[in-house]
């Protein structure tokens, strides 16, 4: 019997759903083959999240609590992750693929001499390792990948697995943590955050995404109005994060975030493969574009050919009526 460890990501005072998706999947794998599944929470208030993790069936929950984890910094996070790996020697350590995970995964693998597969869309255990599917070539193709070794790290794209509740009587183990002055080396000078009440795109049920076709404030107002009606998160193509019209954190695609909402409405977005790479797994895709040959229509379930400035007002109006 071996141990599968799952990293529970905390963001803005909440457990990231994607890490519970990974925990749910690991629990299923562990039950099938008689392994144990454990979880680790690293945060300034780590113990306050224990109950939220117990629901998903971890037999042991490691808690690393220290004020330094208030904001993401790679040096302390790496040290804490290495400590926990030392304490429990997992054969597989699974993460949700967030920016914070991406920041430490390679370094942790090097530090632990572990084999690593990043950003997989599914994985299974094998004899002596794991096998996984990884989207490659701007997510046009799936690669069958394998990792072998005593220690394996894997990060999973958000939305790859469903949440499965499985309440366990988890043992809670607190892990000591300290960092000497000299160890930190890097200094976090400032955090430039988007306003706290924006919807986490990885968890949004609906996303309204704006592209270069949205040219001005009037267009942005329509986007906001539509998002409000649907209680949707707002995303953007690179064209508009680059121009400064939308915050870079909202970019969806290969460079930006990978999302998989129930409903994705692409407005004035052409559908370049690098954008599609981030949203093709949405359940229902709506495209509004004035060019009938725009590639986005090839993947849209509902394509509206038209000028967004003319289409959005009645679209919003009709949705309001439906909602009322």
């Amino acid at each position: 019997m071996s141990t599968i460890l799952t990293y529970i990501a905390i963001s803005d005072g909440k457990i990231k759903r994607s890490s519970l998706e990974v925990l749910s999947h690991c629990k299923e794998l562990a039950d099938k083959d008689g392994h144990s599944v454990e979880a680790v929470i690293i945060d300034k208030d780590a113990s306050s999240f224990v109950d939220g993790v117990k629901k998903y069936g971890a037999s042991k929950i490691y808690v690393v609590e220290d004020p330094i984890f208030k904001n993401h910094m790679n040096t302390p996070l790496l040290k804490a992750l290495a400590n926990v790996m030392g304490a429990t020697s997992p054969s597989v350590f699974a993460f949700a693929s967030t920016e914070s995970t991406k920041d430490v995964l390679g370094a942790l693998a090097a530090n632990q001499q572990a084999a690593v597969l990043s950003d997989v869309s599914s994985f299974e255990l094998t004899d002596g390792g794991i096998k996984a599917k990884r989207p490659v070539m701007a997510a046009k193709i799936l690669a069958d990948a394998e990792a072998k070794g005593e220690k394996i790290l894997v990060s999973v794209r958000s939305g790859s697995y469903d949440l499965v509740e499985n309440e366990a009587n988890s043992e809670v183990v607190s892990v000591d943590f300290s960092l000497n002055d000299g160890e930190l080396r890097t200094t976090l000078k400032e955090i430039i955050s988007v306003s706290g009440d924006t919807i986490d795109l990885n968890e949004a049920a609906s996303i309204v995404a704006a592209g270069r076709g949205v040219k001005d404030e009037e267009g942005q107002k329509l986007i906001t109005e539509l998002a409000d009606v649907l209680k949707a998160g707002i995303g953007a193509s690179r064209a508009l994060t680059e121009s400064g019209m939308y915050d870079p954190s909202l970019q969806i695609g290969q460079t930006g975030k990978v999302v998989s909402p129930q409903l994705y409405i692409a407005i004035g977005i052409s559908g370049a493969i690098q954008h599609v790479a981030g949203m093709a797994n949405s359940k229902v895709i709506v495209a509004i574009n004035k060019d009938p040959d725009a590639p986005i229509f090839e993947i849209a379930d509902y394509g509206i050919v038209g000028d967004l400035y003319k289409v959005l007002p009645p679209f919003i109006d009709e949705l309001k009526k439906i909602k009322a």
């Binding site: 084999a115 701007a138 009938p292 509902y302 394509g303 439906i322």
Partner: protein, 256 residues
């Protein structure tokens, strides 16, 4: 400041490709400089122009990778090192990282710069691995760089906002293409690149064992991503089609 930038030749994801017997068949003529590496080169050049110093690019790859290296030289990098492989090796990020770390081990530099990920595999691992192997402080997913005496100021894109991070040099950083618009080499740059030094280094000279060069991960095959069913396209009077689709989202797709 002395910059080393790790650059990689990658297949153009826009080029047609096919899967045959689980193998990926790509157009061999459509190899390009990884877009994220082009941004890393660009930013190093900007900082060099501002503060002086040197930009050297390093690439591990087949003889063909020299074309990619020339492109970086034509952009303005001062010199290059080409660590030769046959191109048939199935190296993963960790193998490339071990080779790069072995190369950098006895070099002097202020900043090691990388792309945040390879455009073809999206692995995003090499930069952090090299930093850890060499014991360097590092930051990933940089969207802006500033240099100060003995320091590199990195603006990185985090999950919900940007972080400003100060790193003492020597350090390592991985770059996003959100950082800048890489310059297109002009004719003068292209001519000059032909006279710039490109040192050839034999992989065997770096003292790596067979074990260190054996990847722990492998790709066993490729498959098409399951496609989406073609949907419905609505053309006509904006008011009508907009309301029709809104209704269908409620009654047919059930997502409202």
């Amino acid at each position: 400041m002395k910059f080393y930038v790790g650059i990689k030749m990658v297949p153009d994801v826009n080029a047609p490709l096919q899967i045959k017997d689980g193998q990926l068949i790509q157009d061999a003529d459509r190899m390009i400089l990884n877009a994220y590496d082009a941004s890393a080169v660009e930013e190093a050049l900007v900082l060099k122009e501002k503060h002086g110093g040197e930009v050297e690019v390093v690439s591990i790859g087949s003889p063909k990778a020299s074309e990619t290296i020339r492109k970086a030289l034509a952009m303005g990098a001062d010199k290059a090192t080409h660590i030769q492989t046959t191109g048939n090796e199935a190296y993963d990020s960790a193998t490339y990282a071990r080779i790069l770390a072995a190369f950098f081990k006895d070099k002097e530099y202020d900043v090691l710069s990388f792309g945040k990920q390879s455009q073809d595999t999206d692995a995003g691992l090499t930069g952090g691995m090299v930093a850890e192997m060499l014991g360097l402080p590092f930051a990933t997913n940089a969207v802006g760089l500033q240099a100060e005496d003995g320091k590199l100021l990195v603006k990185r894109q985090g999950d919900s906002g940007q972080e400003m991070i100060e790193l003492p040099t020597p350090c390592a950083v991985t770059c996003s293409n959100d950082m800048n618009e890489p310059r297109i080499p002009n004719l003068k740059g292209i001519m000059a690149s032909k006279r710039k030094p490109m040192e050839q280094v034999e992989l065997s000279s770096l003292g790596l064992s067979e074990d260190e060069l054996t990847p722990k991960t492998s790709v066993t095959g490729y498959e098409e991503k399951p496609g989406r069913e073609p949907g419905k396209k609505f053309e006509g009077e904006p008011d009508e089609i907009a309301r029709e689709v809104a209704q269908l989202l409620d009654t047919e797709a059930n997502v409202i």
